[in-house]
Symmetry: C2
Subunit: 238 residues, 2 copies
């Protein structure tokens, strides 16, 4: 082959930023201001610049969209999307998708890009009712599936929570991401027994009614072994 066969491409990093709002998994979407797909909803993202790595580009976008220090969040690669027709512009655009996990954030800086950012329930999108720009429907589905698996084998669920959280908070993370109901007593034992998953603090948090819950913070472990079982509990009979 000759070097002339080599395609020159643009490269982007796209972000699937997940959080939990009101017990449901949400993803941050932006309304596209420019062509292609102007007016359509899309994952936030942007072109690789200068001497950045792809990850650095993703971190820059994450900071721009959420205003949060990427070091405090969880960010991992999902994969490359390279279908030649995924972007209609003449110059090919290949993207690398990243999965970001964040606690419930205010949507602050619609600033820099003047694109309106909004949290959208993931369930509304996976059904296929709304179509996203580019191949972002597929990217979203892949990233959500990766997040679901990640929760089984790692302790990232704590990143969805505030710095101090109750065991019920943590359980609701699993229930929102997996869309199942988990057995409360068994979940409690599981996470308290797991080495380095959560660390008890002195504080407690009052609840609307009932016994106050102990507060915990994230522990040093990042792998969860044995993993969290994803089986739904049997629904209580009436």
């Amino acid at each position: 082959m000759t070097p002339r066969d080599r395609v020159l491409v643009h490269f982007t990093a796209d972000l699937v930023i997940l959080t939990i709002r009101g017990g449901a998994l949400h993803v941050l979407l932006v309304e596209r201001a420019n062509e292609p797909f102007a007016g359509l909803l899309a994952l936030p993202g942007g072109f690789l610049r200068g001497a950045e790595t792809v990850r650095q580009a993703a971190e820059r976008e994450l900071r721009e969209e959420t205003g949060v220090d990427p070091a405090t969040l969880h960010l991992e690669q999902v994969g490359v999307y390279s279908a030649p027709d995924r972007d209609p512009r003449p110059r090919r655009v290949i993207t690398c998708a990243f999965l970001a996990i964040a606690p419930d954030l205010p949507v602050p800086t619609a600033g820099s890009d003047a694109r309106s950012a909004r949290w959208t329930p993931v369930d509304d999108l996976l059904g296929g009712a709304t179509r996203l720009a580019f191949d972002h429907d597929q990217v979203l589905a892949d990233a959500v599936e990766q997040a679901r698996e990640k929760l089984r084998f790692s302790t990232v669920a704590t990143v969805f929570c505030e710095p101090e959280f109750t065991i019920s908070d943590l359980r609701e993370v699993y229930e929102a991401v997996w869309g199942v109901e988990l057995d409360r007593p068994n979940f409690h034992r599981k996470v308290t027994d797991a080495d380095g998953f959560i660390i008890p603090t002195d504080g407690k948090r009052a609840v609307p009614t009932g016994r106050p819950a102990r507060l915990y913070r994230a522990g040093p472990a990042d792998v969860l072994d044995p993993p969290m079982a994803r089986t739904a509990r049997t629904r209580p009979r009436f």
Copy 2:
């Protein structure tokens, strides 16, 4: 930002083709004929051309290097490597690494590219004794770790084997990839009980000494649940 900030890059697909030879995990390496890194060992790979997807480029390279139909092998994405200095050429080159799993193949077509391909024991490389071109040491380490995890939760181990194989063949795959010794009786039960992992055939294979082993072929399942335990068996005391 202006469109001028967007970097134009070349894109490659690099392959970590793993197989098992003589009970040890091997990877296919090529000696680079051209600069950069001429003379050094590297993972096979090549530039994205025309309207290919990255996966199609990987499949094309796989066919060129091994002469085998990619449809019969296992091929999955590992990730993107985009450090700006990973390739010294003035135009940036970003790569997407793929993990390929293959049965023991003859190294046929050193043909098209006139690069000498060779199977190399992975253990010799992970130690860091030999340095590979580009960031391929890191790519190899990531891909091998991905293969190790993949074996736990999927049935891909059968792809390392010939179409018909014995349970000992399959066990030796796990032992080679994981570098452990597994309990033979328990492994036997585990894989025969697992639904859709292996299907018995009518054949048997004579062994140098001892009872002939039943032959199996790969089953339809691709997930292995519950997963294979990675714990080494206690070494037999003498």
